[in-house]
Subunit: 335 residues, 2 copies
């Protein structure tokens, strides 16, 4: 039987990247018309069918993907994974794949649950979220040759598996750097960062984006340390973050935050006088009108399922790092 | 084989309602100690096993429940159904039942999807959310004798099926009435209501709770009409609701709202001077510190699965209307 053409074949034929082919399939409006036409011609010439790969996975066994849903994650941050789940289910549905949910109280019970799901052929593949330092699931799944992809890159490189497994992530560091650069470009110099205590991969990455740009703008290290605030996330209480921000003197002209929950606190403290930049573009940011950094969740879902249904050949890129976008509102939108 | 005892058997033996037995199993802390002991004795005497009924469903075919996940419902209101999903998955997991997600663009495609899922024995039963006037799914499922339960009561009584199908809902009217009575008891008289335009079952029901109490307190009909505000839900813009509330003169002492999104608008407009009462107790209400009405989602999930796994006998109650609770914060908490 002739091999079915893949996204890589289309990319080669059209002289573009896999990412561009994926964009034409998933978000055609962001691709230049000439490029779009070239990719569509290649698709037609090769007889590429976007769904063929999904059908391969589908006809194998259950055509079902397992996803863990954590109980009662009830903050604004939790809503990001819910929004990702919506995007994933919608995308999976278009590929006639199903999504089965499970819960697990801890890592060991998650491995037990996955074991049972695989044994019963209830799921063929997994999408893991909330990757973290020392995530045991990765090696466990690699050893058993289970098909899986993570939303979230590996945050340590202890095992050889880390470089090998399939992942999609969003480049938080570049997102926060873009936000900081935007504020510097508007003449702000005293820009604070409100994040989580050091030690979380995601949090440290976002903080680094702010530090990078502030250093590049010549802000001395001692001043940076004074502008660098850390707080445990507590979505139940915006006032803790507000108190922390209110203590800064002189007051900053802008506050870049690692989450919209933290940004809400900053907004309560100095939102009338300073620009507040959140992260995740939650309904709260929209409702209160502060700027935020949006993760491209539909694209994360599309790429994760593409990696699962069309596993890259040896030597091909095994992960996708996507760029977030700035959503500017109110005073931050000014020139 | 001897019939397995059911919740009804335990209720009869202990001389309490099914609801009380369910409370002892799911939320024992809300049951009086004497009652709790009596129910527990009945459970032990009869050899009732809470999981036996789930096992019956489980061993039948796929032990999987289908739930629709709507794409991109990205407001604060959407988060309610996400929180319900978390509660449902957690509860289903404890009963060793699985939850499979599907999406559908409209009612007809939802029926098509359900048809396929049932045909392939992918799901044994369904939990439907977002019931509405003229909901065709109910009759369709009744005709096919599909096992299902809805979170949400039928809002019209056109078909004979409406009284028959299994549902769990939260009594929004009594929740809003409780909130209004609480405010009246604290001496507020000028209490506005901010809800949705007439025609939504849920919205009209909540508005009625406010009207009931205001009338009972002797507020004239003309004044009520002036305090009754309606706005299409737009979670992207808290300022529309704020503008509407700001137009009221004289300013109300309190605003009871049909949702936390609307309450956010009221809070932005007059939150410093008036008491604001939201609905759904979202993270936003907690973060900003306004009061809200909380739906008992864990209990809704538990009752929905109980109805599915232990279908009531003919003549037994086929639905459960649960009471929401007031979560008082800030000024609303005062005596």
């Amino acid at each position: 039987m002739r091999r079915q053409p893949t996204v890589s074949d289309v990319a080669s034929a059209a002289g573009v990247s896999r990412q561009t082919v994926s964009n034409v399939l998933n978000s055609p409006e962001i691709v230049k018309p000439e490029t779009r036409d070239r990719v569509r011609h290649a698709i037609a010439d090769l007889g590429y069918r976007p769904h063929a790969s999904a059908r391969r996975l589908r006809t194998r066994t259950s055509a079902t993907i397992g996803v863990r849903l954590d109980p009662g994650v009830d903050g604004m941050a939790g809503s990001l994974l819910d929004r990702f789940l919506h995007a994933l289910v919608e995308r999976a549905d278009a590929l006639q794949l199903r999504v089965l949910l499970y819960t697990a109280a801890d890592e060991q019970s998650e491995l037990d649950v996955i074991d049972r799901l695989l044994e019963g052929a209830d799921v063929d593949a997994l999408v893991l979220t909330s990757t973290h330092y020392g995530d045991r699931r990765i090696d466990w799944l690699m050893e058993r040759e289970v098909r899986f992809v993570t939303f979230g890159r590996p945050w340590d490189t202890s095992g050889p598996a880390d470089a090998e497994h399939l992942w999609v992530d969003v480049d938080g560091r570049s997102g926060v750097a873009d936000a900081t650069r935007h504020l510097l470009g508007r003449g702000c110099r005293r820009i604070a960062f409100l994040g989580w205590p050091a030690g979380s991969g995601t949090g440290d990455d976002r903080r680094a984006g702010w530090r990078d740009e502030m250093r590049a703008a010549g802000v001395p290290e001692a001043e940076l340390d004074g502008l660098d605030l850390a707080l445990e996330e507590d979505p139940a209480d915006g006032t803790a973050a507000a108190r922390l921000v209110a203590r800064l003197a002189p007051e900053p002209e802008a506050v870049v935050c690692a989450s919209d929950s933290l940004a809400l606190g900053a907004w309560l403290a100095i939102g009338e006088r300073a620009t507040v930049m959140g992260y995740d573009d939650t309904p709260v940011a929209r409702a209160l009108g502060f700027s935020s950094i949006a993760q491209p969740l539909a694209e994360v879902a599309a790429q994760a399922l593409e990696l699962l249904t069309e596993p890259p050949a040896p030597g091909e890129q095994r992960h996708r790092l996507l760029a977030p976008s700035l959503v500017l509102r109110g005073t931050a939108g000014g020139a």
